[in-house]
Amino acid sequence: MTDAGVAKAATGIIGLDEITGGGLPAGRPTLVCGSAGCGKTMLAIEFLVRGATQFDEPGVFMMFEESAAELAANVRSLGFDLNALTAQKKLLLDHVHIERSEIEETGEYDLEGLFIRMGHAIDSIGAKRVVLDTVEALFAGLPNHAILRSELRRLFRWLKERGMTAIITGEKGEGQAITRYGLEEYVADCVITLDQRVQEQIATRRLRVLKYRGTAHGTNEYPFLIGERGFSVLPITSLRLDHEAPLQRISTGVAKIDEMLGGQGVFRGSSVMVSGSPGTGKSSIAAHFVDAACRRGERALMFAYEESAAQIVRNMRSVGIDLERWVKAGLLQLRASRPTLQGLEQHLVAMHDLVSEFRPGVVAVDPINNLSIDRLEAQMKPTLMRLIDFLKQQQITALFTSLSAGEGSTMPETTEVGVSSLMDTWLLLRNVEFNGERNRTLYVMKSRGMRHSNQVREFLLSDTGIDLVDVYLGADQVLTGTARVAQVAQERAAAELRKHDQERKLRQLAIKRAALEAQIAALRAEAETTAAEERLAVTEAALQETLARETSETISDLRRADTTRK
């Protein structure tokens, strides 16, 4: 009615309000159609129950097929107590029943009786919401369809005039027809179709907003589930990619892996994939991951699709991880199941429910392959995307293990290309078969937004947990296991040898130097002797000179020679 967009009435149904951008058109009828058993009635009753309990909008449920008692019994398993709501005047159930065989038609009539009943029901509880389930049953009960059609048209208009947010359910028609009796002609504001399909022996229910006048809405088919807490539509995620990107880093639980990831581990809220062939230690990494979270005091949720919870606890104890204490402390939940029993989406909804309820800091899924029965990548990717988006929005760090093809394939990583683009960090585990033994290696394929090591490490599982050691890169072979150990020994021997050699050399040099020094000392002594001799000679010469002069003077004196001559 208003120009500024369409006013919406929140359904309170998980996911549906997201897809429709806030709920069903307020004060207008919405057609929900689908084949038998696809959940129309469940959607409708949940719309009323949530309206009555969460939005303070009482509702009238006018049913044309089931009786009130049957309906109440059917939805009790979802935790909806219709009788209590009825007693509180928040809900009114009216079973409209027509027995074709009891009815004779003569002359003109209209469906004013239905209007009066509806009006009375609405007034008696001040209803804001109305459900007609399934009004098409009237077509079987009333022979004059021309009257019925015009009256239904009038009814929907009347509901609109009274400002009722209404759900009208309809049976899916043959072929292209949306409903069997063409109800979509009269209810034009919003049409939602439900569908149930069986694929690979697994039934999946899907919901689609076919039409929503005057508003943007998700147009895809969204899987939904009728679970323990009612109706859930996927995606839980919004249509946008706008989750926060925290800078906080958290440990993967293996110090050496953290070191490889720039020394600090992964970003909070990021998704980590650990892929590898069977027996490469994926589950152990997952166990370390949840263990580390529990140590930090965060809650952790682990979905295990290969082993039972007890088996995981036992097996992880063998690598030194005590998961049991976390389970007992309520920090860890191990959910072991065979997901292939349910549809992929159904499982996803269950996961979502559990995550919403438990609110963990980290989630581990081991392995994602089992989510799909025969590796239908095309199916798995959107599902995983929804899961990852959902977890990211909750800032939950997720670790997924992925089983890649066996050793036969030369590039095991290619098998996961499909889902890898969804992952922020990808650790690849590979078996290296060499020298008659098989060893595990680990490397970081990618890690968005951080400097990470490109070095292959050898991955060791011991009874104290995971350890990583540098591998040896030989001439053309990565050395692991005993080959690496042999290499280490060899290197050690060589080092020893070099050490000895060095020492010997040093000793020799010392000796040589000592000899030289001795020589120097001898020469110096000689030099000193020579110097002394030199001094002696000089003195001697001077002495001789003096002596000679004195002698000649003496002689002159004696001869009395002419002194003046001199």
């Binding site: 038609e105 003569t106 009786g113 009066i116």
Partner: protein, 103 residues
């Protein structure tokens, strides 16, 4: 009880209830048609109760009334319903399971 042409000799066999919505054309036509048919074929054996749902809407659910006007044959059992303004006498008689009185 016996506010109708009480012939008193024969007991009331037909207990009829006519549901209408106010004084609409269809309501009035239905009532007139019903009176006429009953007088002709069930004289003295019937009782008609008129329920105006505009005044007592809560009564609509009890007899599962949707269409208006609706005539409900409450007695004799089983319950029968005839919807419409009862303009087709023959069908009303079939609906009420009455042997027409041949005049």
């Amino acid at each position: 009880m016996d506010d109708h042409d009480a012939v008193a000799k024969t007991p009331i066999e037909f207990e009829l209830r006519l549901y209408v919505a106010g004084q609409s054309k269809k309501s009035l036509a239905a009532f007139a048609n019903l009176r006429r048919i009953c007088e002709m074929h069930l004289a003295g054996q019937y009782r008609i109760e008129i329920i105006d749902l505009l005044k007592t809407p809560q009564l609509a659910a009890g007899d599962q009334i949707l269409a208006l006007p609706t005539l409900v044959r409450r007695l004799p059992e089983p319950i029968k319903k005839i919807i419409g303004d009862l303009s087709n006498e023959e069908r009303v008689l079939v609906g009420l399971d009455i042997q027409p009185v041949r005049a």
